[in-house]
């Protein structure tokens, strides 16, 4: 990563966390460039939430060191909390308070001045003004998510941690949410957002991929794809999709999956891959080499990780 330490909002190395004898986060290092939107990816249970909680002082790391917003994340959690907004995976505002009351509460605990104006501005910005007196618990998923975001940025933090903010939200609301995130980043906010939607990963400046508690890839989407040295061949033509089962498990084939009517075959060993598909390089099938998608790369990374496990 080219960024110098001064421009890193988050620069933490060697994070570890165990619950009982379960090693949930294993030697994870995470860097987030100031003003960048970094996607934190990984399957369910891989340790994303745990990592985010350690960064904002909600969980104590077993080991690890580094800075969040220029402060030691292990000893200056309070300082960090003052400048960080955290949107939890599960809705965690008060369902028996109204939208406005929830925001007022947040404004007060953060000791903000000019509270009425800030709450009003925040309601306007998120289009919640005409629902301000609705109980938070009565809101639909998309509105809850907007409210949670509004509450997380009310005190104008410099770092925003979002934990799967769009889970269970419809595509239109997701799109709007991401536009909002990019708007905030354009204003200078640093964002670390966990997700497992691939299309969202592609909207991030940088990506960090975690599986089984280990960080296994990071960088820009292009760099992650290039670093994987994955080769993907695409077959088109009648019956292409039905070849998947025959090719899967052959030497050199790490992944063979139908994509609609076409077939993607991936592996890191180009020669082995060519050898395996050679018998099928004849009409009616036509073969081309394509750029692997992020999804291809993650499935590949995952399967390698499983082997190591």
């Amino acid at each position: 990563m080219a960024a110098s330490p001064a421009s890193l909002a988050v620069d933490v190395r060697g994070l570890n966390k165990s619950f009982g004898d379960k090693h949930v986060v294993n030697d994870v290092s995470i860097q987030v460039g100031t003003g960048r939107v970094t996607g934190f990816l990984g399957p369910n249970g891989s340790g994303k939430t745990t990592t985010l909680r350690m960064l904002c002082g909600l969980l104590t790391a077993d080991s690890g060191e580094g800075m969040v917003l220029g402060r030691d994340f292990r000893t200056q959690a309070r300082e960090i909390k003052l400048r960080t907004g955290y949107m939890t995976q599960r809705f965690s505002l008060y369902e028996d308070l109204t939208i406005a009351e929830n925001l007022q509460f947040m404004a007060r605990v953060h000791g903000l001045d000019d509270r009425e104006r800030r709450v009003d501005a925040s309601l306007d910005r998120l289009g919640l003004q005409n629902r301000r007196d609705q109980l938070a618990g009565k809101l639909s998923g998309g509105w809850k998510q907007r409210l949670a975001l509004a509450a997380a940025i009310l005190h104008e933090p410099r770092l925003l941690l979002l934990d799967e903010p769009t889970a269970g939200v419809d595509p239109k609301a997701r799109r709007e949410f991401w536009d909002e995130i990019h708007g905030l980043a354009a204003d200078g906010l640093t964002v670390l957002v966990s997700t497992h939607y691939m299309d969202e990963a592609e909207r991030c400046h940088d990506i960090a991929y975690i599986a089984y508690g280990r960080l296994i890839a990071r960088g820009t989407a292009d760099a992650v794809i290039a670093d994987s040295r994955l080769v993907t061949l695409r077959a088109e033509g009648p019956g292409a999709d039905r070849l998947a089962s025959r090719l899967a498990g052959q030497p050199g084939v790490e992944m063979a999956a139908p994509f609609g009517l076409a077939l993607h075959v991936s592996g890191t060993d180009r020669r082995a891959l060519d050898a395996v598909v050679a018998p099928y390089r004849k009409p009616p099938l036509s073969w081309t080499e394509v750029e692997p998608t992020l999804e291809d790369v993650f499935i590949h990374l995952m399967s390698r990780q499983e082997d190591v496990w």
């Binding site: 909680r53 904002c56 002082g57 909600l58 969980l59 104590t60 959690a77 309070r78 909390k81 003052l82 960080t84 955290y86 939890t88 599960r90 809705f91 965690s92 505002l93 008060y94 369902e95 028996d96 308070l97 009351e101 007022q104 509460f105 947040m106 007060r108 605990v109 953060h110 000791g111 509450a151």
Partner: protein
């Protein structure tokens, strides 16, 4: 740790107020609980049962004895249902619960009345249920004056001027014999304990269960600020309940208020704060609302049983008294009973108040030590 920030304390307090005002359970707990309890217990206080079965052992078959029996019958508190032929038989009847009272009239009773040496008759009462027998026992006070009034005429009339005989009342099974008024202070303690310990314990674990704790902990709010902000509204609730109970006690049952207002105020306040701190402590241990509920009930039981509310404190075995002394209700009861019934104020009640203050200090310290600012 930075100094207490009152804006944050107020933030938590305001939020708690609004949440409480939207929770119907709150209203039930604040008003219905004390009212229902005092009516239930008050009914018992008022019920003043009559026609209680009595066995008699009369060793002096005279007109005087007959007059006493008639007088007892006429009071309507006693029904003479058995006549025994020995003290042992009396004991048996009482032990089996066939009678609640026994009367023994000694052999030379009438002779000694006439001589004017004020003989004694013995009435034993089964006081294991003092509420049931209290009214009857107090009715006995008038017996010596009235029973023989018709008999002591003519030359014997000087005998009627002073009490012609003495009634020795001997409560069995419950020597301290709680009077009905004792119930109200105990009730106050129990209602406050039930409401305050339970509501705070549940209130905090609810934040954990619903996940709102995560948001709360991600803010810069500090443990003591959370504690003060969360508990303050409940102090108000406790004071409302205290007022309701005391006013009802006065209006409906005419419980005496002898004074001791300073001790009463200090006792109520310390007890409320102690109960709240305990609820808070429970919430730092319990992982769910169900656990919090169980722990509160677990605490409530000795508060009712070992505090002197249900059973007289001095009548309990040493180990039970030791446990009882560690429970704040015990000391609270002493303060409130002392104030209401005997007019004892700060000067007399300070040992109990000190015990309450110590409880507050210990529990608050423990709660603060256990309160986690992380989710670990």
């Amino acid at each position: 740790m930075s100094p207490l920030n009152w804006t944050r304390v107020f933030a938590v307090m305001a939020k708690e107020f609004v949440q409480l005002s939207r929770d119907r359970l709150t209203y039930a707990m604040i008003l219905a609980l004390p009212i229902v309890q005092i009516l239930l217990f008050g009914y018992a206080i008022n019920s003043d049962p009559r026609h209680l079965p009595m066995a008699v052992y009369v060793q002096d078959h005279s007109a005087f004895s007959r007059s006493i029996l008639t007088s007892l019958q006429n009071s309507s508190y006693f029904d003479i249902t058995r006549e025994a032929r020995s003290p042992a038989e009396l004991d048996r009847l009482m032990a089996r619960g066939e009678v609640l009272f026994t009367l023994t009239i000694p052999p030379d009773f009438s002779r000694r009345v006439v001589r004017g040496d004020r003989p004694q008759i013995l009435i034993e009462g089964d006081a294991s249920d003092p509420l049931a027998t209290g009214g009857a026992v107090s009715a006995l006070a008038a017996l010596p004056q009235r029973a023989l009034a018709a008999d002591l005429v003519g030359p014997l009339s000087p005998r009627a001027a002073v009490q012609p005989f003495e009634v020795v009342v001997h409560p069995r099974y419950n020597p301290e014999s709680i009077t009905a008024y004792n119930i109200v202070p105990g009730l106050l303690g129990v209602v406050l304990t039930m409401t305050l310990v339970m509501m705070t314990a549940l209130g905090m674990t609810r934040e954990l269960e619903r996940g709102t704790m995560e948001s709360l902990l991600a803010t810069p709010v500090q443990p003591l600020e959370v504690m003060i902000g969360k508990l303050a509204p409940y102090v108000g609730i406790g004071l409302i309940q205290t007022t309701v109970i005391l006013v009802l006690a006065k209006l409906l049952f005419d419980v005496p208020f002898q004074g001791g207002w300073g001790a009463l105020a200090a006792g109520v306040l310390l007890f409320i704060i102690g109960s709240l701190a305990l609820g808070f402590l429970i919430s730092t241990v319990a992982r769910s609302q169900l656990q919090a509920m169980q722990m509160s009930v677990f605490y409530l039981l000795p508060s009712i049983l070992l505090s002197g509310f249900m059973f007289p404190f001095r009548g309990m075995p040493d180990w039970a008294q030791a446990i009882g002394s560690a429970i704040p209700v015990t000391h609270f009861l002493r303060v409130v009973r002392g104030a209401l019934l005997k007019g004892l104020d700060l000067a007399e009640s300070w040992p109990s108040l000190l015990a309450l203050a110590a409880f507050v200090a210990v529990v608050t310290t423990l709660a603060m030590a256990r309160y986690r600012t992380t989710l670990d």
